[in-house]
Amino acid sequence: MHSLIQLSIAVLLLPLLSFVILIFFNKRLPRRGDFVGVGILGTTFALSFYIFWSVVVQAYDPAFRVAWDFTWIDFGNVPGVGPLEIRMGIVIDNLTAIMLAMVTLISFLVHLYSTGYMSGDPRYGRFFAFLGIFTFSMLGIVLADNLFAIYIFWELVGLSSYLLIGFYFEKDSAADAQKKAFLANRVGDIGMWLGILILYSQFHTFSYQEIFANLAAGKFGLGEAWLTAAGILLFMGCVGKSAQFPLHVWLPDAMEGPTPVSALIHAATMVAAGVYFVARIFVLLTADALHVIAFIGAVTAFMAATIAITQHDIKRVLAYSTVSQLGYMVLGLGVGAYSAALFHLVTHAFFKACLFLGSGAIIHAMHHEQDMRWMGGLRKPMPWTFATFTLATLALAGLPLTSGFMSKDAILAGAIGFAAAEGGGIYWIIPFLGFFSAMLTAFYMGRQIWLVFFGESRTHLKPADPHHHGHDAHGSHGHDDHHAGESHGVHEVAWNMRAPLVILAALSVFAVYSPDPLDGAKGWFLKMVQTPATVVGSPGNTAGHESSPLALHEGRLLAEAVPPAQHKAESDAHSEGVASEAASGVHAEAAGAAAHGEAHGHEFSDPRQAAIAHEAHAAHWPAIMISSVMVVLGISLAFVVYVFRIIDPEKTARSIRPLYLYSFNKWYWDEIYDATFIKGSVLISKILSWFDANIVDGIVNGVGAMTRRVGFATGGFDKYVVDGAVNFTAFLVNTSGGVLRKLQTGKVQTYVVLLLLAVIGYFIYYFTQLIY
């Protein structure tokens, strides 16, 4: 076993150990055992970072891959199925290593942050236990090498998110939110499981590598449509977990969980799982499936952004922003900008975690006030939070010099390239929605920054709420509550909540990822995580290539064929890069045509990917230009509305009231679901209930009544015939007994007389016999 594999097993199991220790012993440990959670996660992060360092920095090989697997369950030869064994294993490549470091770092920081945020909570220890199992589940998804394992950990993530979202289960809203999250995820998971089964039915394996190898060898016997269906079904899992339209409704409600949970779920773990999963199965997605994914992502990004601009709750704005950014990532995967999407996944994880933890700090300091309308002027009392929050906001909005700029730009460039390569038309909607959402993102984040940190405190404007009952126990008591000025009682949070903010904000700076703030492709991430070649469709291409089948099976065809050209293009002059890329595209196309003419689905194979990559590269600068303009436009609009107050937001809202309400009520998705699925379910339940009450119960009652009748009949027979016979016998005996007992007088002399008569009778009989 490779030493990295051993380390990764330790990384996987340590958070589980933390969970086990804390769930059983948290009440017996000092400080409810929070140091166990923080310590174990710190260790886990250190190990993960070592793996990351070994793989990404030291090996520095895009094709780096270590795998290990073992037979988990061997059912032997199952009748009707054949040999059935389920293997489990771990695969470590660049993506895994990066995800490991990201997940454990954010989880560790969230643990550390929670020691401050959650202190005084009655279930303080259990909270850390839940964080532990959540981290464990996510690491399982990251490390798994097969669909079965990822499904198991997928469900574990669903469970742990359920536990964490409903952590304040005394509140009805939290209990509802956890149910909603669980059910919405279930809808997606059903699709995902069906997708897994489609693949299993063909290949009898769950392993990614084997499935890809079989697909590349053209062994998928059901045809193109089924493969597309499998891809879309698998993508449904992502739709649920990554809160894509139309299953996005759970994520904003999941804000009922404690804020560190929001940071963990909505930045690094749960929602990232969906995108990560689509990335893992990226190579088996057909072009049609990718189109669906791209459109869903674009719609999600746009829809969530339009909702975010009108929300009042600080966490809800961030929640919709998360949905929107996840839409970007899915859009990126859909348009084939695989590495850009994953780049955005990582950069987003850091700055969104920073934003959530920052909002947590604000909520903490404001005594659990979440409504932005009653905030304001917080930059003076909370300078650290202000600085980090602003930096992360800039990254989210996608201003240059931030990580978000590079990753979002890469996705948008990919979207333009996609639209161009697909021949324009309706496909231009995708980049259009992407750019428009970028502007909206800048606008609503500018609005949020301004409402929260600038202006005067509006705490006193809040209408009195008789039900308000903040968890003030861990507020600002003991400190100077009479802080001068507008923000009464608000002050900066302690170091254990500040440090994560600073670290995460630092990771939102461009320099971490790339030396060139305008071009992420020069950075290590996009060099190490490269778009793999698709394995679906064209056996012609695989045959035409010089690369070994093994390389292809590992899904690295493009990594070997095109990326060298990309590297060259990146380092050389731009035009030269385009030329060499185009050359490789032509080469692939020629190879595809040369081999099997009858091979099905040529257009989905390497030429298409190559064309998209080529167009995306060409779209790099236009994308930067347009997105920068959009972002500046958005921020300017926020300034115009909220800073200079040239446009009064209330008036505008009133003048376009239907639109405002449409956005404010989240496009009425909850209402639509309520009217369709929920009402529909209730209706179906009522129909079934009627069926139950009338048909099923009728049958049961009919059978019952019939049994009763039969019972009466046999009862009558019993009573009159059988009992009659018995009683008649008894009657006979009784009567004859009554007669005969008269003979028994008890008087000896009677008996003597009878004896005499008998003897006389005998003699008479005897003599009559003699005579005759």
Binding site: R741, Q744, T745, G746, K747, V748, Q749, V752, V753, L756
Partner: protein, 105 residues
């Protein structure tokens, strides 16, 4: 007068039958248990006469043996029957057989 002078078997049998009839009459009509026992003795002795008469006119000794046994048996029977009567008297304070009918029904 031959009937009176020429004593034969019929005389014995007639005496025996008369004795039996008296005995039976006493057993069937008397209420006193002791009188009934006396009737039984008469019946037994009627049987004895029968046995001896047949023994005399058939020439064998079996009838004599039987009657000897019956005499012994009658003695034993009288002893046991009197003991029973005494016990009945102890319980019922009476030797009237018509009043001793607890076996009835």
């Amino acid at each position: 007068m031959e009937l009176l002078t020429n004593i034969g078997l019929n005389h014995y049998l007639t005496i025996s039958a008369l004795l039996f009839g008296f005995g039976l009459f006493a057993v069937m009509t008397r209420r006193n248990a002791i009188v009934i026992l006396m009737g039984v003795e008469l019946i037994l002795n009627a049987a004895n006469i029968n046995f001896l008469a047949f023994s005399k006119y058939s020439g064998g000794m079996e009838g004599v043996m039987f009657s000897l046994f019956i005499i012994v048996l009658a003695a034993a029977e009288a002893a046991i029957a009197l003991a029973i009567v005494i016990n009945i008297y102890k319980i019922f304070r009476s030797v009237d057989v018509s009043s001793i009918d607890t076996m009835k029904e």
